[in-house]
């Protein structure tokens, strides 16, 4: 037998037209005999009708102009940035290439070590990629879906480009390149990882591992 608090939840869903027909029937029957629930139903109906009546905010008169101007400014700024940083990046890549054979993989962060320890069972660490700093090892429920989510997420991060570096049966490794000032890049990476973690919450198929490496 349901209690009133459980019926309150059903009432909320009924108001959203999201209650399955069987439960709707049961609820309506209950409303005929329960004063508390009937009162809750009436109050919530009133409340949602007022919420639904809240008008859309009016657009400030000059916002369209400001937006177009901001886009234009960003494009011009990006061109200047690319010219300046293109040269620096080119020189850096040559330098990295020249010394890469002498560099050992950088030590992973504590957070990563924690993750790796947790994933020890049933997973193996990738050993082939040593030219980037590993920022994240993620065990995901569906490799294909998670990979799609990651690529989709990048639309929100124009400063980040992703390069699929290695694909194995149940592992994908990505290289991330960030074209942003260094003080912003750590934040961007952190945000990307956190968004990705949120994005894979409900996937339930076969498992896999995603590795993220950052090019530095």
């Amino acid at each position: 037998m349901k209690n009133c608090n459980e019926y309150f939840k059903d009432i909320s869903q009924l108001l959203d037209n999201e209650l399955p027909p069987e439960r709707e029937k049961e609820l309506k029957k209950h409303l005929e005999t329960c004063h508390r629930c009937e009162r809750f139903f009436r109050e919530m109906t009133l409340l949602t009708s007022y919420l639904k009546g809240i008008p859309q905010e009016e657009l400030p008169a000059n916002l369209t102009f400001k937006v177009m101007k901001a886009i234009q400014r960003k494009k011009e700024g990006k061109r200047a940035f690319n010219l300046r940083w293109g040269t620096i990046l080119g020189l850096s890549l040559i330098l990295i290439f020249a010394v890469s054979s002498y560099i050992k993989p950088l030590e992973e962060s504590t957070q990563l070590m924690d993750t790796a320890t947790r994933l020890k069972e049933g997973s193996k660490e990738s050993t082939t990629l040593t030219s980037g700093r590993k920022v994240k090892t993620m065990k995901v429920n569906s490799l294909q879906e998670s990979s799609k989510i990651l690529e989709d997420l990048l639309i929100e991060f124009p400063e980040i480009t992703l390069e699929k570096k290695e694909v194995k049966e149940n592992e994908i490794s990505y290289f991330i390149t960030i074209t942003a000032p260094s003080e912003e890049s750590a934040l961007l990476t952190e945000k990307l990882v956190s968004e990705l973690e949120k994005g894979v919450y409900s996937l339930q198929n076969d498992s896999g591992i995603i590795y993220l490496y950052i090019k530095e």
Partner: protein, 172 residues
């Protein structure tokens, strides 16, 4: 210049972007800043949009995320997440106050508009997305990247909390 497609989309969705930004940051000037940032992201990201979610949901999500980022950079985030009203189970007696005790309909309508913006973010966003913007549970789940069950529960609790807030301020 901005591509024709991007310009079309921005023109069409600008009112939505601004209104969503306002729901998150609760300040007109800040909402304008967020709107500009979102439009820049749409321009640079449109080519990579694969249509796996609807355009509206995609734009909605970018806007919510940009708004949350904006809040994180300020102290407003902690304030916005802070529950200042007690979110308790409903215990009603027959003679306890009811929304129907607020006789002045226009007054109540106005209070609802004000108080809903005082709800903590976790409840405010799903509730406004559902009741004001008419998004489905699935769409809200996709935008906020939380399971549908969480969406249902936050909407329900958001309404209860809003009701309690309205009754707490009854007559003020």
């Amino acid at each position: 210049m901005t591509s024709d497609r991007a310009t079309e989309i921005i023109t069409e969705y600008l009112p939505l972007i601004y209104s969503v930004a306002l729901k998150v940051v609760r300040d007109r000037d800040r909402a304008e800043d967020v709107t500009q940032e979102v439009c820049i992201k749409i321009c640079s990201g449109l080519a990579r949009f694969k249509g796996e979610s609807s355009l509206k949901t995609w734009i909605y999500r970018i806007t919510v995320n940009a708004g949350l980022d904006f809040l994180r950079k300020t102290r407003a985030f902690r304030e916005a997440s802070f529950i200042s009203y007690e979110d308790k189970e409903i215990e009603w007696e027959d003679n306890s106050p009811s929304l129907y005790d607020i006789i002045d309909e226009e007054h109540l309508r106005q209070r609802v508009r004000e108080k809903v913006m005082e709800l903590p973010l976790d409840f405010r966003l799903p509730l406004l997305m559902r009741d004001v913007d008419g998004l489905s549970y699935e769409e809200i789940s996709e935008v906020l990247r939380v399971p549908v069950g969480t969406v249902k529960s936050r909407i329900h609790r958001g309404r209860n909390l809003l009701r309690n807030m309205l009754l707490t301020n009854l007559g003020t």
